[in-house]
């Protein structure tokens, strides 16, 4: 058991090192995706047309693990192993510098697989052939297909069709796009040669992984335009997260952790929002639950950021100095963001004092690396850091004020979900709504809005808003109270002019620092921009939508009815 415990949870960044048994034991999430891909492979003929797939998702989303799980299925399950061979490539193919090398890497993967299948005679034979052919091959022809022919001939003799499981396929493409002395040629003939090789009835089946759908896959005039069918691996659902954590507790025989998970759903939910449902973070979260029985989400999150520091530090240090400046700016420059996707190149240029042309060029490189994503859907193209945890890590490493914003957000999530649980419990217990109506709004429409609720909050926020207040939790509780949300904000929304003043006031008082989802939801409700909620940074989406539902009653009819009643009766 001790061995299993170690292997299941310790390979957060190298799922490829997991033993097959450990992989099978820990593979809980992505069952639908796995079942779908597995069924596709089961149907793939030994000879005939096939569909190639590309798994797309941020780092840590589970691409490598899914590829490895498929490899295990191909090896172990007869309906797959009877006609397929899994060729698992290492995550990084440092030896590949052209298409010819890629085919040789495939041959080497086949040697590995034959070894695994204990077909040592075939493996040795293939190894010998690789050596001989490479020695006498045409070294000037970068797209020489001798390796491909050897792969095909060997598989044909074995009566098996190869399934090439290639992680970071976009990076492989970056390595083979050479044309003579010219590097990085998007129109490289190597792409077309590869496409040709993958377009026959005996072609290897390719299932690739990529952090993004790079130009090579989607540009109309590029070889692989719409060639692979992309399958996006998004964030896990909260239910899946619970299943994974509980499964880990079962596998490691830790019933006390399972109990903690059950009794602290708000802690799980808050961490879920902060880590973006990223499977890689789940093993870490599990460890936090195991080692900190009574911890709060904020403390968990700080520890999580601490644990991941070596990983993210190495990644940021890998970048050029200018790219580091831009990544930092994208992470911390959040002043007056409001309902937006991210920042424009001009805004980053202004913040960093670098020329816009340099910023644009660097953003383009960062996008190619999958570190930055963009949206052209809102006027000027806006950019943001793709990985939520990377962005939050950068924010935690920035100034005290920025770090406090992140901590406040963590606290906000926890308080919000605790309140929701409490509401649900009260509702369940008494059969009535927990909503109180004891306080009435006494205000004049239009101009200066002051309610006793607002005034009380103003007084608190006007002092020391740069720091995390000692009683932050109490304040957030007040902001999320029925009194403030349903009785005051919902009512204010009935008269847009008043609501605009309220929004302005809340921003000026710095509420956005400690209750950003609430403020964004209020803005979206006021300006009828529900669509923009899905464009926000992922960690904000869940809580903001939640608050939006409370404010607009779109998914809570009772709240809505109550709000109307208040308007009718009092305003």
């Amino acid at each position: 058991m001790a061995q299993k415990e170690f292997t299941v949870i310790s390979h957060h960044y190298n799922p490829d090192w997991l033993s097959e048994e450990a992989l099978l034991a820990s593979f809980v999430a992505r069952q639908n995706d796995f079942a779908f891909m597995r069924a596709e492979l089961a149907r793939a003929p030994l000879q005939g047309n096939v569909q190639h797939y590309l798994l797309v998702g941020v780092r840590g989303v589970g691409k490598t693990t899914l590829l490895k799980r498929l490899a295990v299925a191909i090896r172990r399950e007869p309906d797959l192993s009877n006609h397929l061979l899994a060729l698992s490539f290492p995550e990084e193919l440092y030896q590949v510098k052209n298409l010819s090398d890629f085919w040789w890497a495939a041959c080497e993967a086949l040697v590995d697989e034959l070894d695994y299948l204990e077909q040592s005679h075939e493996a040795e034979k293939l190894l010998l052939a690789i050596g001989q052919i490479r020695k006498h091959g045409d070294k000037n022809n970068l797209a020489a297909d001798a390796g491909f022919k050897l792969l095909q001939d060997t598989c044909a003799a074995l009566k098996k069709r190869p399934v090439m499981l290639v992680d970071n396929l976009d990076l492989v493409f970056d390595r083979i796009d050479k044309s003579g002395r010219k590097l990085k040629d998007p129109h490289s003939p190597a792409y077309w040669a590869l496409r040709e090789a993958l377009s026959t009835t005996t072609s290897p089946i390719v299932i690739g992984g990529s952090v993004r759908l790079s130009d090579a896959f989607i540009d109309y005039d590029k070889a692989f335009y719409d060639f692979f069918l992309p399958k996006r691996l998004g964030k896990l659902s909260l239910d899946e997260v619970h299943s994974v954590l509980e499964h880990l507790a079962d596998v490691q025989n830790q019933p006390e952790v399972k109990e903690r998970l059950r009794t602290n759903p708000a802690r799980v939910e808050a961490l879920y929002e902060l880590t973006g449902g990223n499977p890689r973070a789940l093993g870490l979260i599990f460890e936090l639950f195991r080692s900190g029985p009574n911890s709060r989400a904020v403390e968990d999150f700080e520890r999580l950021m601490d644990i991941t520091t070596p990983y993210y530090k190495a990644r940021i240090e890998d970048l050029s100095e200018q790219a580091q400046v831009i990544m930092h700016a994208l992470a911390v420059h959040d002043a007056k963001l409001g309902l937006r996707f991210g920042h424009t190149a001009a805004e980053i240029a202004s913040y960093t004092d670098l020329p816009t042309t340099s910023i644009s060029a660097q953003l383009s490189l960062l996008e190619n690396e999958g570190l930055v994503e963009k949206s052209p859907a809102h006027g000027r193209t806006q950019y943001r850091i793709t990985e939520q945890m990377f962005r939050l890590w950068l924010q935690m490493r920035a100034t005290r004020r920025i770090r406090q914003n992140v901590i406040s957000l963590a606290k906000f999530f926890e308080v919000m979900y605790e309140q929701e649980e409490l509401r649900a419990m009260l509702k369940e217990g008494s059969g009535t709504s927990a909503v109180t109506t004891s306080n009435r709004i006494d205000e004049s429409q239009g101009k200066e809005i002051r309610s006793h609720v607002m005034e009380a909050l103003d007084a608190e926020y006007e002092t020391g808003q740069q720091d995390i207040p000692g009683d932050l939790e109490r304040r957030i509780n007040a902001l999320l109270s029925t009194e403030f949300v349903e009785n005051f904000l919902v009512t204010a929304l009935q008269t847009p002019n008043s609501a605009a003043l309220v929004l302005d006031k809340m921003r000026k008082l710095g509420y956005e620092k400690h209750a950003r989802p609430l403020i964004l939801a209020f803005e979206a409700a006021l300006e009828n921009k529900e669509d923009m909620l899905t464009e926000l940074e992922p960690e904000l989406q869940g809580a903001t939508m939640h608050m939006y539902a409370r404010l607009t009653g779109k998914s809570k009819k009772k709240t809505r009815k109550k709000a109307v009643k208040l308007v009718d009766g009092q305003l």
Binding site: F36, G48, Q51, P189, W192, R195, D226
Partner: protein, 418 residues
């Protein structure tokens, strides 16, 4: 039939175009064919079906994909390699006769070089034998084919890519070489004795027509019989979807299939396959029931969400290239006009009246003459029609330009609204 979108299909997976296959094979009795069309409409698949068709009539048929070729010699190497297995299948008497010549050509291919101006520094290539060598070699190779008893079909896929490669890699001389290549194809090859016994099926997706027009060589492709591929009729599209449903055990009846076709509109097999994929994925992931036990109503309920999956930003399908393509092809100013017209047409699934679009364009070009505005509209109208953005629909009595692909219209609408 398998759910395959992206790679060419053959055999059982090739569906619904047997009439077109017969028609193209008929044309090939007397003519060579140039099959042009947007990407992903199934050109390679139908050409392979045509090959199979003529093979059944005792023709030899070979395929060469020349997209990875960067010069004329690479083209000949491809041709030579593709011919090798066919030569081996000839009767022993003929084979003996041809073997020596064929092998000699192989040696000659290895020895000659193409003169690429400006390549490298001192350029070994410039010192190489005259560039016309490849023509003699090509002619010799083709003469060999023409002596065989049976007719040949040579299918050349992605020819425009090869021609673009030549121009990109040889800025000063590329255009001249492309012209010479196309002239060779049109004149020299046809002048060879027995040329009628070799038929050519040439296909391509990336702007061969634009290329030859731009460089004043439209005449070079006039000798080819130009053909296009139409989308499926509704009945064929429904039949295809039902066949797919049968394979994946989905309860997709006629009505459900019709709804899916209506949701796609442009019934090209690629888009039908893709829509079916999203539907299948939705059904298997989002229904509490097993996908195979989902009812017709369950499946119909998933069509709309599946279509939404296709157009959501950051989701599996990316339509941005349809917009980006305009800027690359037309330049910023014209592309902005084209985008404005498409945005107007996207407002309604039935499209927009050309008169209204012209008025809209006039508003965008206040300082230009009426003639200029009209000329711009007609030019853009035709480009957008040729590149499969929209088509003229006169079914309502008035001509309206409407999007071919309904998911693209939805994307466009979403993209250009708050």
């Amino acid at each position: 039939m398998d759910n395959i979108a992206g790679t060419p299909v053959e055999g059982e997976n090739f569906f619904g175009r047997s009439t077109e296959v017969g028609r193209l094979a008929d044309i090939l009795r007397n003519d060579d064919i140039l099959l042009l069309g947007p990407r992903r409409i199934g050109k390679t698949s139908i050409c392979r079906a045509v090959m199979a068709h003529v093979k059944a009539s005792n023709w030899h048929a070979i395929e060469i994909n020349v997209a990875s070729c960067e010069d004329e010699l690479a083209f000949l190497e491809k041709l030579h390699s593709a011919l090798a297995p066919e030569m081996a299948s000839l009767g022993s008497k003929i084979k003996d006769r041809f073997a020596a010549t064929f092998d000699a050509i192989s040696t000659r291919i290895k020895s000659i070089k193409i003169a690429v101006t400006g390549a490298g520094t001192a350029s070994v290539d410039l010192a190489a034998p005259a560039s016309e060598d490849w023509i003699h070699l090509g002619n010799d190779l083709l003469r060999l084919l023409m002596q065989a008893d049976q007719p040949w079909l040579v299918y050349i896929d992605e020819l425009p890519i090869m021609l673009f490669n030549m121009i990109r890699n040889d800025t000063p001389g590329g255009v001249r070489r492309v012209r010479r290549f196309l002239d060779w194809f049109r004149n020299d090859v046809r002048a060879l004795p027995g040329s009628h016994s070799v038929r050519w099926l040439v296909s391509g997706s990336v702007g061969l027509d634009t290329l030859v027009q731009q460089h004043g060589m439209a005449d070079t492709i006039n000798s080819l019989n130009h053909q296009h591929l139409a989308a499926f009729t509704e009945d064929v599209a429904i039949a295809m979807l039902r066949k797919l449903a049968e394979r994946y055990q989905l309860a997709l009846d006629n009505e459900a299939a019709r709804k899916l076709v209506a949701a796609v509109q442009w019934a090209q097999p690629y888009y039908l396959q893709k829509a079916f994929h999203y539907l299948r994925q939705r059904v298997s992931a989002n229904l509490s029931t097993n996908a195979n036990t989902a009812t017709v109503a369950d499946i119909i309920s998933q069509i709309e969400p599946a279509m939404n999956d296709m157009v959501q930003p950051g989701s599996d399908n990316d339509f941005h290239h349809w917009e980006q393509r305009l800027a690359l092809q037309l330049g910023a100013a014209q592309a902005a006009h084209a985008i404005a017209l498409l945005s107007l047409a996207a407002q309604d699934a039935t499209g927009a009246r050309p008169e209204n679009m012209l008025i809209h364009l006039e508003g965008r070009m206040p300082n230009d003459s009426t003639e200029k505005q009209r000329e711009m509209f007609i030019n853009l109208r035709d480009i957008l029609q040729r590149d499969a953005y929209w088509w003229p629909d006169e079914s309502s009595g008035n001509k309206r330009y409407r999007f071919h692909l309904e998911p693209l219209r939805r994307w466009w609408l979403r993209r250009n609204s708050l």
